[in-house]
């Protein structure tokens, strides 16, 4: 009997401490994020982000022969919760094709942690800047187009992060 009570007590204590750290962690991260009063602000579509967009690129394991990594995260505006299973479309002018060509487009899904990562051919400078294009366009949340720029044309990876708000 005593054993049961003890285990129940320890269970409660453990649960309580998990809850406390959880709340503290959320509070701390909330303090670190900008615009914490209204929660995490949604990402705005970038100028030129939708250029050469093609609707409905297929979800692929890799675009072309790969060699370059596009990665990022998808979170919900306000609480910043990671959004799993979200389709992100990616395209760019690469060593294997121009921006508008179908083989330059592909899509991937976010994992449980809201992160995505898709291998694609090396991005090269086009229209004066080495840049990529990403879109969230599945409808559940507001559509967002991003156009991140590489620090150097020699970079072999690029990141873009989405914070989505309900449509």
């Amino acid at each position: 009997m005593t054993i049961v009570v003890l285990s129940r007590r320890s269970l409660l204590a453990a649960g309580g401490s998990v809850l406390a750290t959880g709340v503290l962690a959320a509070g701390a991260s909330g303090l670190l994020l900008p615009a914490s009063a209204d929660g995490l602000a949604p990402t705005e579509t970038m100028t030129g982000g939708a250029n050469n967009y093609r609707k409905g690129a297929p979800v692929v394991d890799r675009i072309g022969k790969g060699g370059f990594w596009m990665s990022g995260t998808v979170r919900r505006a306000g609480d910043g919760a990671p959004l799993a299973g979200q389709r992100i479309q990616i395209w760019a002018h690469t060593v294997e094709g121009q921006e508008h060509e179908p083989q330059s487009h592909g899509a991937t899904l976010t994992g449980k942690d809201g992160a995505f990562r898709l291998e694609m051919p090396q991005i090269i400078p086009i229209f004066g800047q080495p840049h990529g294009h990403l879109a969230y366009d599945s409808g559940e949340f507001k559509t967002v187009f991003l156009r991140p720029i590489m620090r150097s044309a020699k970079d072999t990876s690029l990141e873009a992060h989405f914070v989505l708000q309900p449509a």
Binding site: T47, G48, N51, N52, F127
Partner: protein, 201 residues
């Protein structure tokens, strides 16, 4: 004296040759390549223009230099048309963004302003006789537009990451600025001398 001709050939020829050797060309279509080189050639012509009209190039009479300045002005406008049309063909949405001043690339508005200034000079030059513009009026219009063309072309070019090799590009841009400053300074000095002579009489 032919040294200045050699320097001019190097200042224009080397950046074109180095751009022609750029590995970026492998990933571009022929129209995009043509558009890019039209832009580089246009910058080279912007260097030739002040040298011609300033009488800096030896072996050319003032008359022939002025004729050449007119012809090269037309060639410059044509090069810009090829540059813009080729880029439009390559990626219409990017070119439309640039022309409407809503492009994310910082160099685009400079290029577009330079383009309109070049077109304005070309049109005014073609209509100059019909409009009966005197030399003073013409200079009053052309000189500020020429300064806009030079400044905006140089900024446009320097901010672009493309096929041009950076040192030869910077040297060409510096040459364009130096030639413009020299010719403008000469013009200013002549005007000062003339007004002094007039004052003395």
């Amino acid at each position: 004296m032919p040294l200045i001709w050699a320097a001019l050939a190097v200042a224009i020829g080397v950046p074109i040759a180095l751009a022609a050797a750029s590995e970026q060309l492998a990933w571009r279509g022929p129209v995009y390549i043509l558009a890019g080189f039209a832009g580089i050639v246009a910058l080279g012509l912007v260097l030739v223009q002040p040298l011609l009209i300033g009488g800096v190039l030896p072996g050319l009479s003032a008359y022939r230099a002025r004729r050449a300045h007119h012809w090269i002005g037309d060639a410059l406008a044509l090069a810009v048309v090829i540059h813009v049309a080729g880029l439009w063909f390559t990626s219409p949405p990017d070119m439309i963004d640039a022309l409407t001043f809503s492009s994310p690339t910082p160099f685009s508005p400079f290029g577009v302003v330079a383009m309109w200034a070049i077109f304005a000079v070309a049109v005014l030059a073609a209509l100059r006789r019909r409009l009966g513009l005197r030399l003073r009026t013409w200079r009053f219009v052309h000189i500020p537009l020429a300064l806009v063309i030079v400044a905006c072309s140089v900024v446009h070019c320097l901010l672009i990451e493309g096929t041009m090799e950076s040192i030869s590009k910077a040297v060409l841009c510096a040459a364009v600025l130096a030639a413009t400053v020299k010719v403008m300074a000469d013009l200013w000095r002549k005007r000062m001398v003339r007004s002094e002579t007039v004052a003395r009489q």
